[in-house]
């Protein structure tokens, strides 16, 4: 337990340094959410005319949705680093050293959190340029970053846990793809809940992706319902803790395969 904090620090530093050494990766990471926002913003511009949308501006509505979708698309791949480490032999070296397993999981989540915060800020800036107005101001943005980070931590853990179980890039890509798009569409990321089919309206309250979207959008609104925000943030925190715990247990599954 005493090694958890320092080991998390050292391992996070390792991951962030590696990211900074790949400029092409950074560019793609930053450009991708911009494309989402520009493309969807144009394509669905008139969707707000549908009954069920409370706002008249789709960019206002979409920006938090794209922030949360970007989280899924980034952190769903977190497990790729684990698989590269397995292929390379780094994983076995780590696991035969006194490194804290929890720190390996936490470092991956923190590395994702940094990426997520940078990506989110870029999306917000592009949104503002496109004319979005966030009445919730800075506190609203901070809540959105928190929701995004918590969701990212859950997904990174899930992706890592899956990586430890399936152990091949192909299987992980399949799993991640299978999860991210449906979970996005089963939330109000791009479509107001009241404008979605009834069965999706029934499913989305159980979807943590929707919690993150709703909490962000609510906090960014002119008159936030803070109790609705905090309930969802609490739910996201609980999911992140459980996902992190379960994923750390998956190291045993990996070691059993050796």
């Amino acid at each position: 337990m005493t090694t958890l904090a320092p080991h998390t620090g050292y391992l996070t530093n390792r991951l962030l340094t590696a990211t900074l050494r790949q400029p092409a990766y950074i560019v793609i990471t930053l450009v991708q959410p911009m494309i989402w926002l520009l493309l969807f913003g144009q394509l669905f511009k008139r969707v707000v005319e549908l009954p069920g949308f409370a706002t008249g501006s789709y960019i206002d509505f979409l920006t938090p949705g794209v922030v949360i979708m970007t989280v899924l698309f980034s952190s769903g791949w977190a497990g790729m680093t684990f698989i590269q480490d397995m292929d390379r032999g780094v994983m076995d070296r780590m696991l035969s050293s006194p490194v804290s397993r929890g720190a390996m999981m936490l470092a991956s989540a923190l590395n994702q959190a940094v990426t997520i915060v940078v990506q989110s800020v870029v999306v917000i800036i592009v949104g503002l340029v496109l004319g979005a107005e966030f009445s919730g101001g800075i506190p609203g943005v901070l809540v959105m970053l928190l929701a995004a980070t918590l969701l990212g931590g859950s997904f990174a853990s899930l992706s890592n846990g899956m990586a430890l179980v399936v152990r091949t890039e192909e299987a992980l890509i399949g799993f991640s793809t299978m999860l991210t798009l449906p979970l996005s569409f089963l939330s109000s990321a791009m479509m107001a809940r009241d404008a979605a089919p009834e069965w999706i309206q029934n499913v989305s309250p159980w979807n943590p992706v929707d919690w993150a979207v709703v909490a962000s959008r609510e906090a960014l609104s002119a008159d936030p319902d803070w109790s609705a925000v905090f309930i969802r943030l609490g739910g996201l925190f609980a999911v992140a803790v459980v996902a992190g715990f379960v994923a750390t247990r998956a190291f045993r599954s990996y070691q059993r395969s050796l």
């Binding site: 090694t3 320092p6 080991h7 050292y10 391992l11 390792r14 340094t17 590696a18 050494r21 790949q22 292929d87 390379r88 032999g89 780094v90 076995d92 070296r93 696991l95 035969s96 050293s97 006194p98 490194v99 070691q255 059993r256 050796l258």
Partner: protein, 325 residues
């Protein structure tokens, strides 16, 4: 208590099953502290499985083991603090520099600040990596990566160092450099090295004691000298021409006075005789009488290959003969 101090590694009746497959079948051995101990066997013999169990990566189906006097099953984290591990695949992070790789190990083992930095500089110098220290490992040659691997295994001053196939995939130049490094480490105070290899000459060259494993079984153990001295005489290998009859050749050799341990693999007949040089003319004469055409004859002093052959009935895949007649 003295026993625990003198024995660095004790494996007792280790069994490892993967489903129906038995990778280790009651393997037992013990490694005296301060020695280089070789685990020799062909690919798939169970060497890596043994290392994985001893380094706490894997757990045996049954049996037990201690490393540095610590039970690997009961106190894995204490074992991890006492050992250095160089896995078969490299364990280096290709995106990090050599220095960063070493510092991470130092930090994980609780070394801090100046102490960690000094230790890392020391190892970089020891392995001739000072100049490359700030380059990312991706740019290192295979030999340099392997040296960094070994350096990473030594950062925290372990009492037992595991080297799993340390020279596999290295070119001859890098291999001989690695041998020199390992020999130098072996002279170092109290370090115990467990080395796995499928190169006979590597075990012969480096190990004080060795065990030969085959299909999860221990087939022989002792020093390379002891193992070789069990064998009397020289190995004679006769390669037959493509159209010669192998059966006729075998019968001819069996009729030869003093020929022992006759085995056939492919178109090669192998036998053991007291004096290779004097047996060859007689063997060639016998083969000629049987109208068997011979492509080549080699005579070799006893090597670990022969030990392996004698105990398993199979030759090591890449049998390298010493003398050619």
């Amino acid at each position: 208590m003295t026993h625990a101090r003198e024995t660095a590694i004790e494996a007792v009746e280790l069994v490892k099953k993967y489903g129906e497959v038995t990778a280790l079948d009651r393997l037992s051995f013990s490694v005296p502290a301060g020695t280089v101990f070789g685990l020799l066997g062909p690919n798939g013999a169970g060497k890596s499985t043994t290392i994985k169990i001893l380094t706490t990566l894997s757990t045996p189906t049954s049996g037990k083991a201690t490393v540095a006097g610590i039970d690997v099953l009961a106190r894995p984290n204490d074992v991890r603090r006492a050992i250095g591990v160089v896995t078969q695949k490299s364990g280096t992070d290709p995106q990090a520099t050599g220095r960063e790789n070493l510092l991470l190990v130092a930090h994980i083992h609780g070394m801090r600040g100046r102490a960690a930095k000094t230790r890392v500089d020391e190892l970089l110098a020891l392995f001739g990596l000072t100049e490359a220290a700030n380059r990312v490992v991706k740019q290192y040659s295979g030999g340099m990566q392997r040296k960094l691997d070994v350096a990473m295994g030594l950062v925290h001053g372990p009492t037992v160092l595991f080297l799993d196939e340390p020279t596999t995939g290295l070119d001859p130049q890098a291999r001989s450099e690695m041998w020199a490094e390992i020999a130098r480490l072996a002279r170092h105070e109290r370090l115990t090295i467990l080395l796995t290899t499928h190169y006979l000459e590597e075990a012969d060259h480096l190990a004080d004691h060795l065990v030969i494993v085959d299909r999860g079984h221990l087939v022989a153990q002792g020093s390379p000298e002891e193992l070789k001295s069990e064998l009397r005489g020289d190995a004679v290998v006769i390669d037959l021409s493509p159209d010669a009859s192998v059966d006729a050749a075998r019968t001819a050799i069996e009729g030869l006075a003093g020929a022992r341990e006759i085995t056939v693999s492919g178109r090669a007949i192998r036998t053991r005789v007291d004096h290779g040089a004097s047996a060859v003319p007689a063997a060639l004469a016998a083969l000629e009488r049987s109208a068997v055409e011979v492509a080549a004859v080699t005579v070799a002093r006893p090597a670990l290959d022969d030990v392996y052959l004698q105990h398993t009935g199979r030759t090591f895949a890449a049998a390298e003969e010493v003398a050619v007649l």
